[in-house]
Structures are given as structure tokens and as C-alpha cells.
């Protein structure tokens, strides 16, 4: 039982047009290394989830993504394949893997539901794309999961090759009503078991196992709290940015009533305010993608582990589980430490830069203000 391999978190930067670009890519993803791998003949599998596009209208509307697979592995149909997938198709894959590979921590999916108006906001779409990309790549890096036939189907099946799994366009390619139902039941029972604490009788459990469970449960709580505050902090940055913009505007108008020298002074302060408002919005984006989302990802991972740990099968096979889980967890923890360390670093860097920018901006107009009062 192995967790997904090392994958560096991609640091996202918003360009001037408001689009998102990666600042750094993990080695397994960079074009250079794939080219090198191809040249060297080493086996590689590189997947990217890109190009979110809104399809359909009204309530039926959804986002479709382009999934590009580049590989030299013989199991695959060809060196490159592009398919169109939507969120529910990723869900299908997750469910299939969870069913087939019961012992393994399947990488988590981003949340299913979103508030209607938020669903199509630029940030949400990008966050989801990023999370889906991470999801599929973690699967591809996992020594066992990457061999799954379902993965291959997911990456290669065209709309025409629906086979008996194909369904109507609205519900995605791979849904069968019974599949759906089963998925629902599984999720339902897992969640309710955990939620209601209705795990199997404890007689087979050991203190070591309990300790593990407690650790996971508590870890989730603490992380969830941290993530909640991180999300709020993003909001605060946006709010402060907005209020600075409004204030700047109002100050300028006030100065216009005065005229002369005063007007210039007011205008300077107002303009600086507006400029800093933009910086704050940028920092809000930075926080969202490079601090809050990694935390969220961490929470998702812990939640999926929690389900595993609390599930029926786990308690039945606890001895075996405990040993493996400890190894798993150790590896998982290391991975997470690296991810989160990076996120923390980004937080610190972003905030320090923001503070400096703010101080510099205001300091630059102080001489003008000073000159005014002495005149």
C-alpha cells in the first residue's frame, strides 16, 4: 500500500490579463524532462488537465476540461492522446479506483458542490482545474494505481467508444444508473459510519490503532480550522482592498472641492489608496492559490484517510492495516510536510512583500505632504 509519489505543488501566479500561469512545475511535468525521458527511452506518463470551457446553458451548464496524456508506455494506445472530460468523469474514476484498490489511499477529489454563482467564477474554475490536475497526476505517479485499466479508459476513451458504460451527455460518459447508486451507497455508508461513530465492535482493535485513529481525527479538526481562517483571510484582503479603493476615490472627490494645492495633496493620497487596493487584491489571489488551497488539499487528504481508517473493512483487518498504515502515514506526513512547508513559505513571503509595498507607497508621498504644511 503506497501513497502517491512526490509531486511538487505548483505555485500559481496571476498574469496581468487575469489568467493563471504556473511559476514552477514538478520535474515529472516539465517539458524538458519529458523530452529527455523520451530521448533516453525511460518510461514516462505525463498528464495535464487544461483548458476549462463552459458548456451548455442554464442549470445544465457545466465545465469541460481537456485532458492531455503523453506517454511512451506500451499499455497505452499511442504517444499522445487528448480527450474531453468533466468533473463527474473524474468522480467515476475515483469511485472505480476506490472499489478496486481497497487498501490504498486514493488521492482526494476537489469538492463536488459549489454555490451556484460561485461555480463559474474564474478563481473557482482555476482552483478546480488545479485540483483535478493534481488528482490525476498523483494517480499516475502511484506505482499501483497507475496500472489501473480504468485509468487508461479515462485517459483514452473517445465519445464514440462509449461501450456499455456510455450514457447521456448530460451525466457524463461513464455513468450507469446502478454505478451511480452504488457509489452513493458507498459514500453514504462510509460517511454515516464515521459521523455516527458506528464503527464495528472494538474488540478487535488495539490501543495503537485507536491512537492512530484519534490522531487522524484530531488532525483533521485542527487543519480544518486553520483552513477556515485562511479562507477568511483571503476575504479580508479583498474587503480591505475594496474599502481602500472606495476611500481613495472619495478622498479625491473631496480634494476636488478644495482646489489648488489641497486638491493635489488629496489626489496623491487617493491615488495611492487605489493603487494599494490593487496590490491587496493580488495578495488575496496569492493567498487563495498558494496558501489556502494547499491547506484545503491537506484537509481533503486527511478526510479521505479518515474514512478509510474508520471504515468497516479497516477495522476487520486492523492488524495488517495498522502496520501498513503506519508506514503509509509516515510517508504521507513527509509528503505533506514538504507541501505545507512550501505553502507557509509562500504565505510569509507574500505578506512580507505586501507590508513592504504598502510602507514604500505611503512613504513616497510623505515629502509632498510635509512640503504642503510648511508652505
Amino acid at each position: 500500500m503506497r501513497t502517491w509519489g512526490p509531486l511538487k505543488w505548483k505555485i500559481l501566479v496571476k498574469s496581468k490579463d487575469g489568467d493563471f500561469m504556473d511559476k514552477e512545475r514538478s520535474p515529472s511535468q516539465s517539458p524538458r524532462s519529458s523530452a529527455a525521458a523520451v530521448a533516453g527511452g525511460a518510461p514516462f506518463l505525463s498528464i495535464s488537465v487544461t483548458d476549462p470551457v463552459k458548456m451548455g446553458t442554464g442549470v445544465q451548464a457545466y465545465i469541460s476540461y481537456r485532458v492531455i496524456t503523453k506517454t511512451n508506455l506500451p499499455e497505452f494506445e499511442g504517444p499522445e492522446k487528448i480527450v474531453i472530460r468533466r468533473y463527474s468523469d473524474f468522480e467515476w474514476l475515483h469511485a472505480r479506483l476506490a472499489e478496486k484498490y481497497k487498501g490504498i489511499f486514493i488521492p482526494p477529489l476537489p469538492e463536488k458542490n459549489a454555490v451556484e454563482k460561485f461555480r463559474f467564477s474564474k478563481e473557482f474554475i482555476e482552483l478546480r482545474r488545479q485540483a483535478l490536475d493534481l488528482f490525476i497526476n498523483r494517480i499516475a505517479s502511484h506505482p499501483e494505481l497507475k496500472q489501473s485499466e480504468d485509468l487508461r479508459t479515462f485517459l483514452q476513451a473517445d465519445e464514440e467508444q462509449r461501450m456499455d458504460r456510455a450514457r447521456s451527455y448530460e451525466t457524463g460518459i461513464f455513468k450507469k444508473p446502478s454505478d451511480f447508486l452504488q457509489m452513493f451507497k458507498d459514500v453514504q455508508s462510509k460517511v454515516s459510519d464515521v459521523v455516527l461513530g458506528k464503527e464495528k465492535p472494538v474488540e478487535e482493535s488495539t490501543p495503537e490503532y485507536e491512537k492512530l485513529k484519534n490522531y487522524i481525527f484530531e488532525l483533521e479538526n485542527h487543519l480544518a480550522e486553520a483552513q477556515k481562517q485562511a479562507f477568511r483571510l483571503v476575504k479580508r484582503h479583498r474587503e480591505l482592498g475594496q474599502s481602500l479603493a472606495d476611500f481613495g476615490k472619495a478622498i479625491k472627490l473631496l480634494g476636488a472641492c478644495e482646489g489648488d494645492l489641497m486638491e493635489k495633496v488629496f489626489s496623491e493620497v487617493g491615488s495611492k489608496s487605489e493603487m494599494l487596493s490593487i496590490k491587496l487584491q493580488r495578495e488575496a489571489d496569492n493567498l487563495l492559490f498558494n496558501f489556502e488551497e494547499p491547506l484545503k488539499d491537506y484537509v481533503r487528504a486527511v478526510q479521505s484517510i479518515k474514512l478509510k481508517v474508520g471504515s468497516e473493512e479497516a477495522t476487520k483487518r486492523f492488524e495488517h492495516i495498522v502496520r501498513l498504515m503506519n508506514e503509509e502515514l509516515a510517508r504521507f506526513q513527509e509528503q505533506k510536510t514538504a507541501d505545507i512547508g512550501l505553502a507557509f513559505h509562500e504565505f510569509a513571503k507574500g505578506q512580507a512583500k505586501l507590508a513592504k509595498d504598502i510602507a514604500d507607497a505611503w512613504r513616497s508621498i510623505l515629502p509632498k505632504l510635509e512640503a504642503c504644511s510648511t508652505s
Binding site: 476611500f247 472619495a250 478644495e258 506526513q333 505533506k336 507557509f344 505578506q351 507590508a355 505632504l369
Partner: protein
């Protein structure tokens, strides 16, 4: 006019102010009830939410959040260097006077005036059926020190007394920008001790602040007998006849059916009025945005603090019974974040205290605008009086002419009519006297308006420059506190 003899030397007592005489010896009255100037009262109060103020920083801000404003030199020189934050030792200053206020205070007759120490007292003459439920009121300690005096004077005054003072000042200083007194409701809600005192004392002290600076030109004003009654526009139900006349006149003036003889022709004044209206509009909007800014800064500080707390808990959790090395590393990381976040949260709160302080100028000037409206209203009503009298004169004159014309047609004269004419002529004489006084009053008010506007222009420039400088400086200063050494990981 009250004519009771002044209660000399009685000022220090708690006598009801309404029995104090209002005579031309304004100075003696003034010394008995000690109008105040208080920048210190405003500062001594913790920045919790007084309703009259408009800014509502959360009540969780303790007194430690009131800090010295950094000087320009400190900030300009700071750059990227290590900066020893003075606000780290945030000490509540009891007499924190912002520079503008002390400059103005220096030219006032009073060294300082403070309103403080609210206390509940029982109504003296009240009887109650149920013991312990006697009606009460709140009294405030008013401490003042005039220049040249050795000892400060202290008296206790209640809200009612402030109202009386405000009314008298309004009467005596028509045309001046007399600062408004605090709202009764503000005070009422504070009577239960729910809201902190600073609200009413702060506005009260500002009112007295302004009052102390009003010129003493009322000294030696001659009392004129009859016309005196007419000079004030009809008010208080004293003269119903006058009220109706003036109402008619103002309607006539409004509908421009008849061209009034005297019209507000001072173009300069009208332009100024228009400009002030625009100014007030923008000021209102700016003060609203300032409030939103303060709230946003407050929220930022709060959430930073909550984030820091969440990470402190995570750190604690990961260090207790750490099973893996990676946990220890993570714990160290999250501890760093926690510290940085908590520090940032404090910096935010400090900044907000400063921001509230400086942007309060916006509110101050809004209340100044209130007094400007009153002053302009004084002018308008004085003008109305003059116009009414003038049209009275015109109609009297035309009546005389008609009577004389009719009388002349009768041979040998018409004794009845001629007697009437004589009466009317007498009335004209009185009315002309009244008009003369009214005109003089109007001119006086006009002059007050003019000089006050001039003063306001100057003070506005000073105040707002001060505000902007302070605002910008405090923003620099606090941001510098969060330098990268705190967040280096």
C-alpha cells in the same frame, strides 16, 4: 430677559444653571459656569464606540491600543532598517493632544477644559412612593483652567445645563459657527450605563471647545428698548402676529410674485454657500468610506489573530506525542506562521487606532457643517425680518397716502381720517426704528458669517492636511513593523 441679580461667586456650587442671569455682563456669567476646552477628554477616553462619533472600532480594543503618533522623521528615516516600534510599549496617554488642537488651544482663553467622571445623582426635589426608585440624572465633572489662574475650577453639571449653554450661545452668537451640543438621545442611552461615557463628553467638550473660542463681542452691547423685541425674528409663540406676517413675507419672497426690496445679493456669499454644499456632500461620502476602511482594517486584524490561534493549536497538537520527524518540522513551521500572524494582528489593531484618530477629522468637520447651517439660517431669518419690516413700511406708507388723498377731497378736512393718519405716522416711526435695528442685526450677522467662513477656510486646510499626514504616516509606520525578519522561515 431675566433680571435677577447675578449670584456672584456662586459658580462653584451645583446650582441650577437656569437661574443664572443672562445680562450684558456675559463675562461674569461665563466665569461662573466655566465653558470648557477639551482635547484631553477626547484622548483619555478609550476608543470604544460612542454613537455621536460615527467610528465604531470594536469594543475589544483595550486602552493599550492608543499609541503615540509616530513623527515624520522616524518613519522617513526608517527605510528597511530594524525599527524599534514605539507602539510595542503602547501606553495609554491621558492627555494626548494632537498638534492641531494644541495650537488652537494655545490661543484660547482656557488652558484646558475637561469633562469626565459621570455620576448618577438623585433629583433633589423628587419624591417617590417606592424607596430606592427616585428619579436620577447623570452629572459630569467639568474641570477648567483659565490662563493666568492658579488653580483649576471644578463644577458638576448635568446634561440640561449643557443644553442651556448651547441655547444661550446660539442666541448670543448668531451668525457664528457655534458647535452643536450632543444629542439628548445619546446621553439617554448612556444613562443606563450601557454605553461608555466618551460619546457625550466628547461632543460636549467639542462644543465647549468651540464656545470658548467665540469672540467676546457681546460685552457692552447696549440694550435698546422697544425695537429690541422686534429685532429677533418671531419665535417661541411670543408674537403670533409677527409670525404670520413673516410667514406671508417669506412665501411672497419664495414665489417671487412681488419683487422684495432687499434680496440676498451678495454673490460671493451665494457662491460660497454652493461650494460648501458640495463640500458637505463629499465629506459625508468620505466619512462613510472612512468608516468602511476602519471596519475592514479591524476585521483583518481579527482574522489574522484567529489564524494565528489556529496555528498555535496545530503546533501544540503536532508537538504533543510527535510520532514522526516530519511532524516536528511541521510544528516548527506552523509555530513561525502563528507568531507572524499574531504579530500582524496586533499591528493591524494599532494601525486602526491611529486611523480612527486621524480620520475623525472628517466627522469633526461634518458637525462643523451643522453649525454652519445654523449660522446661515440665522442670516436668512434676519434678512426675512428686515424684508418684512420693509414691506410693512411700504404698506403703511401707501395707506397714509390713500387716507390723505381721501381726506383732501373733503372740504374743511376730515378729522377722523387725519387722526388716523397721525396714528399711522407714529407707527411708521416705530417701524422705521425697528427696521433700523433689524438691518443692523442683519449686517452684524453677515459680518459674523463672513469672518467665520474665513476662519473655517483656514482651519479646514490645516485640519485636513494634518489628517492626511497623520493617516499616511501611521500606515507607513505599522507596515514597517511587519518587516521580513518576523516572517523569515
Amino acid at each position: 430677559m431675566m433680571s435677577s441679580t447675578p449670584a456672584a461667586g456662586d459658580g462653584v456650587g451645583d446650582g441650577d444653571m437656569e437661574s443664572l442671569p443672562l445680562v450684558s455682563e456675559y463675562a461674569s456669567v461665563a466665569s461662573t459656569f466655566d465653558p470648557l476646552l477639551s482635547a484631553s477628554a477626547a484622548a483619555a477616553s478609550p476608543p470604544s464606540s460612542p454613537p455621536g462619533r460615527g467610528f465604531t472600532p470594536s469594543n475589544t480594543m483595550s486602552s493599550s491600543s492608543f499609541v503615540d503618533p509616530p513623527s515624520y522623521a522616524d518613519v522617513a528615516g526608517a527605510g528597511a532598517d530594524a525599527f524599534s516600534p514605539r507602539s510595542a510599549s503602547a501606553s495609554p496617554h491621558s492627555s494626548f493632544a494632537s498638534p492641531k488642537r494644541s495650537a488652537r488651544a494655545a490661543s484660547s482663553e482656557y488652558e484646558h477644559i475637561t469633562v469626565s467622571d459621570p455620576e448618577t445623582e438623585a433629583e433633589p426635589a423628587a419624591t417617590s412612593l417606592v424607596p430606592g426608585s427616585a428619579p436620577t440624572y447623570i452629572s459630569y465633572l467639568v474641570t477648567s483652567l483659565r490662563r493666568g489662574d492658579g488653580q483649576p475650577t471644578q463644577v458638576r453639571r448635568r446634561f440640561r445645563d449643557f443644553v442651556t449653554l448651547a441655547d444661550r450661545l446660539a442666541e448670543a452668537f448668531r451668525g457664528h459657527f457655534v458647535p452643536p451640543r450632543p444629542d439628548k438621545n445619546t446621553v439617554e442611552s448612556q444613562a443606563e450605563g450601557k454605553m461608555p461615557l466618551p460619546g457625550s463628553t466628547d461632543v460636549a467638550s467639542r462644543m465647549l471647545d468651540g464656545a470658548a473660542r467665540l469672540p467676546r463681542q457681546l460685552l457692552g452691547e447696549e440694550t435698546v428698548a422697544a425695537p429690541q423685541d422686534v429685532v429677533q425674528p418671531a419665535k417661541g409663540g411670543r408674537d403670533l402676529l409677527r409670525i404670520f406676517k413673516e410667514l406671508k413675507q417669506s412665501m411672497v419672497t419664495d414665489w417671487a410674485g412681488v419683487k422684495p426690496p432687499l434680496v440676498e445679493e451678495d454673490r460671493e456669499f451665494l457662491e460660497k454657500k454652493q461650494k460648501l454644499q458640495e463640500w458637505e456632500q463629499q465629506l459625508t461620502s468620505a466619512s462613510q468610506q472612512a468608516e468602511a476602511l476602519v471596519k475592514a482594517q479591524q476585521d483583518m486584524g481579527d482574522t489574522m489573530g484567529a489564524l494565528g490561534l489556529a496555528f498555535i493549536k496545530l503546533t501544540k497538537f503536532e508537538t504533543e506525542e510527535a510520532m514522526y520527524d516530519s511532524q516536528r518540522i511541521r510544528a516548527a513551521d506552523s509555530k513561525c506562521i502563528a507568531t507572524a500572524a499574531v504579530k500582524a494582528s496586533r499591528a493591524c489593531r494599532d494601525l486602526n487606532a491611529q486611523t480612527v484618530n486621524y480620520l475623525d477629522t472628517l466627522h469633526d468637520h461634518l458637525s462643523i457643517m451643522l453649525s454652519v447651517h445654523t449660522a446661515f439660517a440665522d442670516r436668512a431669518s434676519a434678512l426675512l425680518t428686515v424684508q418684512t419690516l420693509m414691506s410693512d413700511l411700504a404698506s403703511l406708507q401707501s395707506r397714509i397716502e390713500k387716507l390723505e388723498a381721501a381726506a383732501s377731497k373733503i372740504f374743511g378736512g376730515d378729522r377722523a381720517r387725519l387722526r388716523k393718519v397721525e396714528e399711522l405716522k407714529e407707527t411708521i416711526r416705530a417701524t422705521e426704528d425697528a427696521k433700523f435695528c433689524a438691518l443692523r442685526e442683519y449686517e452684524r450677522i453677515k459680518e459674523n458669517n463672513r469672518s467665520e467662513l474665513h476662519r473655517l477656510d483656514r482651519e479646514r486646510k490645516e485640519d485636513f492636511l494634518e489628517m492626511l499626514k497623520g493617516f499616511v504616516t501611521s500606515q507607513c509606520y505599522v507596515s514597517v513593523m511587519l518587516d521580513s525578519t518576523d516572517l523569515a522561515m
